[in-house]
């Protein structure tokens, strides 16, 4: 099967972000960037399917500025075969992203599209579901296991009540959760090899889609800070505190 993986370059998940004092957004200049963790799990899933004999070709696509090349190279080093960068300096909304990806799906016609379930910058958790809608394919979000079952996939999903297993006829869309696998760190020879793999750069404008934002972001503000508390010296004191809190609750 042919697999398309969509990946995003984001502020590294270990960075403690700062909201710009003028409320225009989050400071991203001079901040370490990397592949969104969930996207890494999606790439790893594709590579593992390939290693199990289920992935004839793995294509990765990212939408972003020129420097987003680096996350495509990471995916190629992990084992993907070919990359596409849809270049734009604009911060696109998830709906526009899904529309661009739908165009790529129409061109590439993959049997499976893998994405991360959410990006850790805007935390939207939309794109896989939207792409499934726009391409009329069944979806399984929040995947923690994928098994190939003939012309279908059995996908285990993490949901609020535990887990569920969904059978999806191909072609289909799956979004990766963190327990799907452990992404590999590409060895140096793979990193070198990645540079010689095909990587097409195409301007976003070439896809003929209205990329204008639908929502107006008025401002971005920091959350309220918590006031520092105190330390108690014994389990007895802590029990007294908890007892006090509990009795206040009952009084409500």
């Amino acid at each position: 099967m042919k697999i398309l993986v969509a990946i995003k370059r984001v502020v590294d998940h270990n960075v403690r972000i700062r909201v710009r004092p003028d409320g225009t957004g989050v400071e991203t200049s001079g901040v370490r960037m990397s592949m969104n963790p969930f996207c890494k799990h999606a790439v790893e899933a594709a590579v593992q399917l390939g290693e199990a004999g289920h992935g004839d070709e793995i294509v990765v696509v990212s939408i972003g500025p020129k420097v987003a090349n680096d996350v495509i190279l990471t995916a190629l080093a992990m084992g993907a075969h070919r990359g596409i960068l849809i270049e734009t300096d604009a911060e696109l909304e998830t709906l526009a992203i899904a529309k661009l990806l739908a165009k790529v799906v129409a061109e590439e016609n993959p049997d499976l599209v893998l994405l991360g379930k959410q990006a850790v910058d805007d935390d939207s958790n939309h794109v896989g579901q939207m792409l499934a809608a726009l391409t009329d394919r069944p979806q399984a979000t929040f995947a923690s296991a994928i098994t190939v079952n003939g012309a279908a996939l059995d996908v285990t999903r993490e949901v609020d009540t535990g887990t569920e297993v969904v059978s999806l006829p191909l072609p289909a869309i799956v979004t990766a959760d963190l327990r799907l696998n452990t992404p590999r760190n590409a060895a140096l020879p793979m990193v070198m090899k990645a540079r010689s793999k095909p990587l097409a750069v195409r301007p976003a404008a070439e896809f003929g889609i209205d990329l204008a934002s639908r929502l107006v972001v008025e401002k971005v503000s920091p959350p309220a800070e918590r006031v520092a508390g105190k330390t108690v010296g014994s389990a007895g004191e802590l029990a007294a505190y908890i007892a006090g809190e509990v009795s206040q609750m009952e009084a409500l």
Partner: protein, 309 residues
Amino acid sequence: MSVLVIADHDLGVLSPATARVVHAVSELGPIDLLVLGHGTTDIATEAAKLAGVTKVLVADSPNTADGDSLVIERFANGYSYIVQSAGSVGKDRLPRVAAKLDIMPVTDIVEVLGPTRFIRPIYAGNALQTVTDNQAKHVLTIRASAFRAAATGNNAPIETIENAVVSAAKLIAQHRTESDTPDLATAQIVVGGGVALGSANKFQLIEQLAKKLGAAIGATRAAVDAGYAPNDWQVGQTGKIIAPDLYIAIGISGALQHLAGIQGAKKIVAINSDSEAPLVKLADVALIGDLFEIIPQLLTELDKAGVKR
């Protein structure tokens, strides 16, 4: 400007999240509540009691993303707002519905400022976005934990809509976590355990304390990854978002992805051997020491203090 709220339910019971969603959007217009699934009569009866609901619509649906979304789309025409809680079902279905309607959704809303203005967290809750949505239709998901529940006592009419959709995906198995503890996302007290518990067996210490306090149980990703707790107990950026009156975090360092899930907690208690742990720093009350000594003592002391719920 009418509102369609999609109900959340499980095992034949209306989820407590739905009452909160109804309350959150009560200013936006008259609310119809849509109950999807099979055999949902009891759920519809419960839903009809929620204050602010004009009528309850019951439609058969296959419990899959593509199937449920098709049903919701059929109803979408008559409404300005399509809303569900930002639980695992709403997160799965509503972006799909939104794309079909060519609408950019506003999700994880923690504050409704007006008919078209909403606040939603980004970057694991380390920043808050105020957005205006001037589209013809609004597709919204609501963080239930950020809102109070609608009152009950209503008796809205229930309408069953004949409906049949074919879903490409099939739900073939469900594995649920057996537990008689309260719903995590809406609990008043939560006791959370980290990877420091060391085993599934020892994680029962957390469960014992939770039982005593009538609390729900939470866990960190590290504890879930290690197999000490089921995935649906995970609290944080990618787990559940909680806003209890009291959160007791035991053997939890306080990584920013975990903190993302507990920002709405009114009071936080931390038990940790490391006085420098981020969670200790932001807790209202911290006790520094070995959790394996402290929890048994705490159970005894709570008994002495006569705490029972």
